[in-house]
Symmetry: C2
Subunit: 89 residues, 2 copies
């Protein structure tokens, strides 16, 4: 079994209205030093196979087709082999 | 200047309907090995100060008060000193 972590971020040139909105809240609360907040996704899941190549292929396709929007987001992933209880081997 | 990265995740016992929904999509697309998808947030921003203690305090408070929901989410953060163009020192 493998544990996968995928980080999805908007490309730098794409506006991030959610980040902007949260940062306005920061200013209202008095955090005056916070700049350029950008909010992406952090996704964790398991891939139930012992074949690392297959696991990697599924993680990549899952990220491309469902977890990210290829028009405006980039993703990076990492894969670790774990035992069935989810601990690192 | 410091660059901060904050990861916000739902606590393990809290249901994640968004993750469940995406995983159903995965099954429809034929990814049969994907399990327990959970979707959190990955937040990046800068803190415009040279005082590491102040930066850390702002990152923590910002995470607690705005970036996460303390009822059902946990967060972890990391801070790196960077020069003004955003590169690691």
């Amino acid at each position: 079994m493998f544990k996968a972590t995928v980080i999805v971020k908007r490309r730098p040139k794409i506006l991030d209205p959610q980040g902007k909105a949260v940062e306005q809240g920061a200013k209202l609360l008095g955090f005056n030093n916070v700049r350029q907040t950008r909010i992406g996704k952090y996704i964790e899941f398991f891939v139930d196979t012992d074949d690392k190549n297959l696991a990697e292929k599924e993680v990549k396709e899952y990220s491309e087709k469902l977890l990210s929007n290829p028009i405006m987001e980039d993703f990076e992933y990492s894969i670790t082999e774990v035992n069935v209880s989810g601990e690192s081997k």
